[in-house]
């Protein structure tokens, strides 16, 4: 190999490798699926598993939330799809919702996933408006519900909350 070619190739390889390492340090992926998914998302080639997503939706609509989350996790194994992550966060909300009290642990998990979903959405704006089953269509509304559920205030002792509806 001519010296000039070797030097140019080495420089290019070093820059690409260093960029990859920087990306890995910034993203901190936990699985190989997250690494490959993140890289394919970076070049716009990432696709979720549509069949697993459909399974997740079916579980979600029949209030089988842990099963729904498993299916959504399978559909978006790299955690790179904002819409799927929104559904996972929503499943935490619906599972944690109660007339007398809300499960703060599930709500916190929901907020964590929602943060991830918003980070993945273009411009941080996440709206899912093509699903009539949902009563909350945006990440902002869902965040408000989750945060209100975690917060303890006077409204928690209002007897009228017994008549409130799950969204």
């Amino acid at each position: 190999m001519p010296e000039r070619t070797a030097r140019a190739l080495g420089l290019a390889v070093a820059i690409v490798y260093a960029t990859l390492i920087g990306w890995l340090y910034a993203r901190q992926p936990q699985t190989i699926a997250q690494v490959t998914g993140g890289l394919s998302a970076a070049i716009g080639a990432y696709r979720i598993d549509e069949q697993a997503f459909a399974d997740g939706l079916r579980f979600f609509r029949s209030d089988h939330f842990p099963e729904a989350r498993m299916a959504f996790a399978r559909a978006d194994s790299a955690e790179r799809d904002a819409r799927t992550q929104f559904y996972i966060a929503y499943s935490y909300y619906r599972e944690g919702w109660g007339r007398l009290y809300h499960d703060a642990t599930l709500y916190r998990q929901g907020l964590e996933v929602l943060d991830r979903a918003v980070a993945l959405a273009p411009g941080g704006r996440l709206v899912v408006d093509d699903d009539p089953n949902l009563k909350i269509h945006s990440a902002d509304e869902l965040r408000a519900e989750l945060e209100a559920g975690i917060r303890v205030d006077v409204s928690d002792f209002n007897p009228m909350r017994l008549f409130s509806e799950r969204k």
Partner: protein
Amino acid sequence: MTAGREAIALPIVFLTVVLLGGLRIADAAAALAPPSVFALVLGVLLVRVLVQCGALAPERLVSPSRTALANANGVVVLVTLWAAGSQAIALVIPDSGLPRIALNVFFLVLLLNTAAASPDRVRLLRSLSVTFGSAFVLKFVVLYELSTPGTSWLKRVLQTMLEGITLGTLTQEPLRPVTGYIAFATVALFLIGIFLLPHDHGAPVATSEIGPYKALLPSRPA
């Protein structure tokens, strides 16, 4: 030194050290830990010592007589060497407690002492091998054994006593055994990388290097 070694092999070796050196695999999760600021400072000291002792000849990497592309390759080698040195030091320094402080100070004093002693290249490489090897053994063998949850009641009792005596400043977050294997490979790779660096041929030659040729030297008068 060939262009392939300078432009391809050395950057890849050092960047791999940067990548693998940060890997921490615990039971709960895996994480990539960047080197601390102090490790970055120690990395600068390490590069300085390498230059001072002739193990690295910077003028063979960056100089006005080289082309712009060759100089760019040289800069990449220098930067990745610094990053890899910092990461290798951070790798063998314990993650918390008294051992972390002690090893940080140990590395600082050792590098300053080595700079003051200014050994030749061969002695420096030996010294670095022993230093990194000792720190590796301390972290991944001694402290690992002290920090891993005991399987027998005797070990658990001894661990509890040790934690009580040292107020918990000695034991570390337990890591998976695979972390030790990866760390071993990383330290070895870093030392190989240092060995492959373009060195100063005019640097003082170690006695061991001239040993076989000693007979050719004129004998000193008694």
